[in-house]
Every structure is written in structure tokens, then in C-alpha cells.
Amino acid sequence: MTSLPSITLGDEKLIESTCRQTPNFNLCVQSLKSFPGSATADVRGLGLIMVKVMQSKANDAINKIRELQRSAPSPALTSCASKYNAIVVGDIPEANEAFSKGMPKFAENGANDAANEATFCENGFNGRSPLTQQNNAMRDVAAITAAIARQLL
């Protein structure tokens, strides 16, 4: 099966030039291209898409946390649960509204905070984290989102 050539050269250039100014070019391009609408989005639209990606990574983490809470509960896990709750209840809505309402500095705040929370969650396990993959994923996409917000300042 061949994938549809869905992106014109002009649009690809915006995704690429935007992603070049983020900490993780490949992940940025891959994340954006996996969402419909990225081809025709402006930089702010790309930011909004990344917030959706953040939402999806947060959900992954929360699902994994729930699973672990059944089999191997721990204080570190409980702490992670509250951190991801804050990401979902605070950071993501803040970033979403900030991108849509043209106040990118608060999108940067929210995304940076999400990256921090994922890192604190990871650190809480003293090197034996069962959530490394999810935390890294959250942190990486949040850092990309923050970098896109900065480009709008």
C-alpha cells in the first residue's frame, strides 16, 4: 500500500522549518504529520496539534499508571498520578487555550510545566521507573510544544 502524497512542498517546508527550531526535529515532524490538518496549518495550528499529541501521551501515561496501581502500587506512582492529573486538568487546557487565543507565552508555560512534571514523575522512582517510556514521550512532545510556542512570541 502506498501512502497518499498529502503534503505539498510549500506546506512541508513550514512543518520542517518549525520543527527545526525544536529540540527534536524527527519526533516533531513525525508527530505533526500523523495528524490530519497539519499540512495546511500555520505555526499556531501546529502548536495546537502538538497539544493534541501531548494529550495523547498523557493518556498513555495515565493508562499505564492505572495498570500499575493494580499490580505494583507505590508512593512514587501515586505522586505520578497527581502530576499527570495536573497535566491533563491544567497544563493541556492552558496550552490549548493559549494557542487558540493568541497568548503563546502561556502555552509555553503549560508545556514546560508538563515536561517538568513528567521529569519529576520519572525521578521519583530513583532509577527504577516503570514509566520511563511514557515519561520520556510526554517530556519530549511537551518540549517540542514549548519550542513552537516560543516561535510565536
Binding site: G90, D91, E97, T119, G124
Partner: protein, 644 residues
């Protein structure tokens, strides 16, 4: 604790001083063995402070840095002078999860700083005085402790200190502000009318300026506001981006019989201030040249523009002008989250302004506050003929904590602003005098000697709500003309140099496991009577060191500060307002100001203490202080139901 009785009297540093100098106010801790034990702990902790300099959070963060592969976000907090927003740094010093208790979080709420009952606040808006009441409006999220759903909160006060909450004044209910009722300013017209101009974000995602006015100007509380039916009154002009056009200032009346106002924008990364003229606040003309522009400073938010008297004794109405007047231009830089100001000359003939010193231009020179501070706005208080400055103080903790505790952000205590006629280069900011109405009991200390490497406890009772005024004298030890090349704040108070740091330790516990040093560091100090050969200029830095303010890993802990001008005939002086999780520090009468947020886990409630310290190596310090306990301001909803 068996050894305690042996230790009675054995607090070497403090006891020795007491024996040497007669008639000196005793420092010995009286009474309890616990006190003596505590003193011994001070000594040990001080030794730890001096000797084990390496083991502080700054170094731990560096160690973390080495251990990680992905260094994109594991950055050591950017240091001294930059004060970058906490939310843009990672601060990863501990490896165990930190659990905030309700006690710790509740303690953080302030007693006399303006903050809503709950949820998020940011910029102060439209401050004014009308019919006996001071009004404060503010960017507010009615639903959450993070930014969003922004409306105008509203509160009133008789005295800028005791605030009463009122219902929201401006909500997002028209197409021209449906996506945001953002910041703005009030202009008081000679006939008593009030016009409010504010930025709206439209349904088409364009920043515009809207006009609103009180529904009933005879209502002293100004509860209800009407939006002009044909808003917006200003839209982004050609060449200006739809997201680069916001925060209109108070207007001033000029010899052309028009009102002039300004608002910030940017072109190609140059921050600038657009000028508009109006006669009716409905129709506006854009000037073809900017009030001022500074390349490389990015978007200017919350521009403020006002006259100051070079005589420096009273505040001036925004429309004042003349030979004895200079103008201050201030901008909040979107890129760096810092507030800058510059003093200069306003050419009213063509509405341009130039700074007195181009090296200290807006965005590259002096800052209003070197700590956690943004989006400041001033107004002319016609009631007391002073210019009063508000500033937004964001949180430096995590959003998890903000959501858990249910609130985020404070306003500073309002400050008067005056031109510093002694230096001619700085503004002076000072807490409004009404804060003195909160003063309860006081303690006075005269010429306390603090030797190098020592900490002196100040026994003042509770130490979470304080007004501290202090003066420091320096006694040179050893040879004169020592030049020490440590300038500035350094990595914090652990970094010793010949002539600093010394100052006070606020929100500190007995064990000194959590503490916030507020200090001076001199680059040089010569004995004037016998050494006139020194040609090196002494610089004095004024700093606040948050790096050990809390053991919690998920709060921002930076060293903030700046050089502060000190004239030859001046002693070093500071004033500090301590109010739970905020500390406002003023040096040299307000020439340099630092606002700081602290989130201790142990130095809270009755465990919080106040100390003097001297971590310099070559000087004694003599400190004289007066310290007041401050009452709560009992900020609460307006008592509409009272029959009074």
C-alpha cells in the same frame, strides 16, 4: 540531650562577642536548653554553610545534568541577572518524590498581599482612585488555577491595603472580546468621567482596543461597566500583526487639545510603542512615527509612560509636563518575561521620547524589579498626589501545586514611584505608607556586631509577616585596599568574598536547612582616611538567593539581583516585607527592588525565623534594625449584606 548542660554558655561566636564588649545588647538565648542546643546547631550549621560550600542545590543540579543523556530540558536554572520565568527551566535536584502537605500549601497564602480567594490572576488592570475608593482590576480566571477564560476581576480599598472583592467587571461576551478581555488602563477626565480602554481578542482572533465606561459614575464601587456599542475603537494598523497590538496606556492631555496614548507592538523583533490621538475616545488617529523603538527587544507588552518630577518629591498627573519633568517609558518584554524602564525626555511636539542614556534604553537597561515580577502598571493617585505602581507576581512552583492549592499569583504591595534625584539614573520604589497601618509590635536592634562567617538570630517572635528596616555599617579587618574580584551576586550566599555577602536570612528555620538570604556584596572597600589611592570603583550588588529557600525539588530557586548605586554619604540600607511565600526587598530606599517567591517545607509557621548573617571574609558588619510584626489585611468579599 545529655551534653546540653555541658554546653551551657558554649556558643563560641555569640558568647565571645558578648564578653568582649561592654554594654552591648545581649544576644545570648535565655532560658531553655533547647535554645542553647539550637545555638549549637546554628554554629554547626554555620560551619556547614562555610565549609561545605559545595553541597547546595546549585551543585546538585549540576550533578544531575551530567547524569542525563538528554540535556535539552535538564538545564541548571539560568543564573543571577536574568531571572527567567520558572516555567521555562527544569530544576531537578532531588530524586525522591516530593509530597506537599496541606499545611505547607496553606502556609503559602499571603496575609496582606492582594490575591483573589482562589484561581489564577495575572496583570493588574485599570487601577484608579474614585470617590473615596481605590480600584484594582486584574486578569482573572474564574475557573482554574492556570491561565485561561480571562475576565476582569475587581476589588476596592480605602487605603490600597485592605481590599474587598467585588464581582467581575468585564467579561468576554461580545465578538470584540469573546476570546479575551485582556489588559488595559483607565483615564480620568477633568469632568470626572472615567474611560477604560482594554485589549479584546476577537472571534476572528485579532487583538483590538475596546472602550468601556462605568454604567453609573455616581456609584463609588463602579460595579457595572458598559462596553461601547461600536467597539473596537482601534484595530491593528497596516503593517502591525494581529497578535502584536495590546495593552493601551492611560491617556494624557496635551497642548494640541488632544488626548494621546500609547500601546506596545513589534516589527521584526524590534519592540516599539505606537501613538494614538483622540478627542472623544471613540475616534483615534495613529501617529506616523513611534514614541520609541528598541531593536532586538521583541514584543512590548504592558507599556507604561508617565512623567516624574526631577525634584523627586511628589507624583505627577499623567498629563503633567514642563521643565522640571522627565518621562519614564516602561515595557514588559514578552521574550524574557522581564519589566524594563528608562528615564528620558518626551518631545511633545512630535510625540517621541529618547532615553537619557541610550545604553540604558528600554529593554536593555534597568529593571523595575530584579525578581519574579511582570506586567507592572502605574497610575496617578490624585487623592495623595503620588504615582503608584502595581506589579504581578507569578508563582515559581509547579502547576500541580497551584492546582492542588487552588490558586496562583499575587500582586505586589503597591509602591510609590519617584525620580531618584540623588543619582539621576534610577527610580525609587517604596511600599505605600498605608502598609504601616498593619504594624503591630516591634523590636529594635542597634549596632549588632556580626563577625565573618557568623549567623545571629533575631528574636522577634513569629517571622512570617514582617516589615524589616535595616542599616549596615562595615568595619574593615586586616589590610586596607584589598581588591576582591568577586562581583555581583555570585552563585549565592555561600559564595564568600572579602566584602560580602552579608545581610539577613528570612524564612529560615533553626537548623538553617531552609533559608532565604537577602544580601549585599561589595566588590571593594577602602578605608577612606588612610587610603586614597584606590582607583577601582566599588560596586555594590543587592541580591536574593532562593537556592536554599526550600528542600522541595519542584520549585524554582534562583539567585536574583543587580548592582545598586550607593553614594558616598550613604549607609547600606534595606527594607524587606516578608509575607509567607513572598518576600519584597528594597535596597537604598528603593533604588533596586527584588520580589521573590519562596515555598519552604520546614521553615513554615512557628518554625520560621529571622537571622543576620555575615559570610564575608574581611569585614565585620554592624547592623541596626527595626522589625515590625505585620497584621493580616483581612482581604475578603465586600460586605454587601451588612446593614452598616
Amino acid at each position: 540531650m545529655e551534653g546540653i548542660e555541658d554546653d551551657v554558655g558554649h556558643v563560641p561566636l555569640l558568647e565571645a562577642e558578648e564578653e568582649e564588649e561592654e554594654g552591648r545588647r545581649p544576644l545570648r538565648l535565655r532560658g531553655s536548653y533547647l535554645g542553647i542546643f539550637g545555638s549549637t546547631v546554628f554554629l554547626v550549621s554555620m560551619a556547614a554553610l562555610i565549609i561545605y560550600q559545595g553541597h547546595d542545590y546549585y551543585d546538585e543540579a549540576k550533578i544531575e545534568n551530567k547524569g542525563n543523556n538528554n540535556n535539552n530540558y535538564n538545564k541548571v536554572p539560568r543564573g543571577v541577572a536574568e531571572g527567567v520565568s520558572a516555567k521555562s527551566n527544569s530544576f531537578l535536584s532531588e530524586t525522591t518524590p516530593y509530597n506537599w502537605t496541606n499545611a505547607m500549601l496553606s502556609w503559602q497564602r499571603t496575609a496582606f498581599h492582594f490575591q483573589p480567594e482562589r484561581n489564577w490572576m495575572n496583570d493588574p488592570n485599570g487601577p484608579l482612585f474614585h470617590k473615596g475608593w481605590y480600584h484594582l482590576f486584574y486578569q482573572y480566571n474564574p475557573f482554574s488555577a492556570v491561565w485561561g477564560n480571562i475576565t476582569w476581576g475587581h476589588a476596592v480599598s480605602r487605603d490600597l491595603i485592605h481590599w474587598l472583592y467585588l464581582p467581575e467587571a468585564i467579561v468576554r461576551d461580545m465578538w470584540f472580546d469573546i476570546n479575551g478581555a485582556w489588559s488595559g488602563s483607565a483615564t480620568l477626565l477633568p469632568g470626572g468621567e472615567i474611560v477604560m480602554l482594554y485589549t479584546g481578542y476577537t472571534h476572528q482572533q485579532v487583538q483590538v482596543q475596546n472602550l468601556a465606561y462605568p454604567a453609573d459614575a455616581s456609584d463609588p464601587l463602579l460595579l457595572n461597566w458598559v462596553k461601547y456599542a461600536k467597539n473596537p475603537v482601534m484595530v491593528p494598523p497596516p503593517g502591525i500583526g494581529p497578535n502584536d497590538f495590546r495593552d493601551p496606556t492611560t491617556a494624557w492631555f496635551g497642548p494640541d487639545n488632544k488626548w494621546t496614548l500609547t500601546l506596545g507592538s513589534m516589527l521584526n523583533d524590534s519592540g516599539l510603542s505606537l501613538v494614538y490621538k483622540t478627542t472623544d475616545f471613540i475616534n483615534y488617529e495613529l501617529n506616523d512615527h513611534f514614541l520609541h523603538v528598541v531593536p532586538g527587544t521583541g514584543m512590548w507588552e504592558c507599556v507604561d509612560f508617565y512623567p516624574v518630577s526631577i525634584n523627586g518629591s511628589v507624583g505627577l498627573d499623567t498629563s503633567a509636563n514642563g521643565p522640571g519633568v522627565k518621562h519614564v517609558l516602561k515595557a514588559s518584554l514578552d521574550d524574557t518575561k522581564l519589566d524594563y524602564y528608562a528615564i528620558g525626555t518626551y518631545f511633545i511636539e512630535n510625540d517621541t521620547w529618547i532615553p537619557d542614556d541610550p545604553d540604558l534604553d528600554v529593554g536593555i537597561g534597568l529593571r523595575l524589579d530584579y525578581g519574579k515580577y511582570y506586567a507592572s502598571k502605574s497610575f496617578y493617585d490624585q487623592n495623595k498626589q503620588r504615582r503608584v505602581l502595581w506589579g504581578w507576581i507569578n508563582e515559581s512552583d509547579s502547576e500541580v501545586a497551584d492546582i492542588t492549592k487552588g490558586w496562583a499569583s499575587l500582586q505586589t504591595i503597591p509602591r510609590t514611584v519617584l525620580y531618584d534625584k540623588k543619582t539621576g539614573t534610577n527610580l525609587l520604589q517604596w511600599p505605600v505608607e498605608e502598609i504601616e497601618s498593619l504594624r503591630l509590635s516591634s523590636h529594635e536592634f542597634k549596632e549588632l556586631l556580626v563577625k565573618p562567617g557568623t549567623v545571629v538570630p533575631l528574636h522577634i517572635g513569629p517571622a512570617t509577616q514582617l516589615d524589616i528596616i535595616a542599616e549596615f555599617e562595615i568595619e574593615l579587618l586586616g589590610s586596607e585596599g584589598i581588591v576582591n574580584n568577586v562581583e555581583g551576586c555570585g552563585v549565592g550566599a555561600v559564595e564568600r568574598s572579602a566584602f560580602g555577602p552579608f545581610g539577613i536570612l528570612a524564612i529560615a528555620n533553626d537548623q538553617l536547612s531552609e533559608l532565604t538570604p537577602i544580601y549585599f556584596r561589595l566588590s571593594n572597600y577602602g578605608n577612606g582616611t588612610s587610603t586614597t589611592t584606590t582607583t577601582t570603583t566599588t560596586s555594590t550588588s543587592f541580591c536574593v538567593d532562593e537556592t536554599r529557600s526550600s528542600k522541595a525539588p519542584d520549585v524554582s530557586k534562583q539567585v536574583f539581583g543587580s548592582k545598586v548605586p550607593v553614594l558616598n554619604d550613604e549607609k547600606l540600607s534595606l527594607r524587606v516585607l516578608v509575607d509567607h511565600s513572598i518576600i519584597e526587598s528594597f535596597a537604598q530606599g528603593g533604588r533596586t527592588v527584588i520580589s521573590s517567591r519562596v515555598y519552604p517545607t520546614e521553615a513554615i509557621y512557628g518554625a520560621a525565623r529571622l537571622f543576620l548573617f555575615n559570610n564575608a571574609t574581611d569585614i565585620n558588619i554592624k547592623a541596626s534594625l527595626k522589625i515590625w510584626q505585620l497584621n493580616s489585611a483581612f482581604i475578603r468579599p465586600f460586605p454587601f449584606h451588612d446593614t452598616q
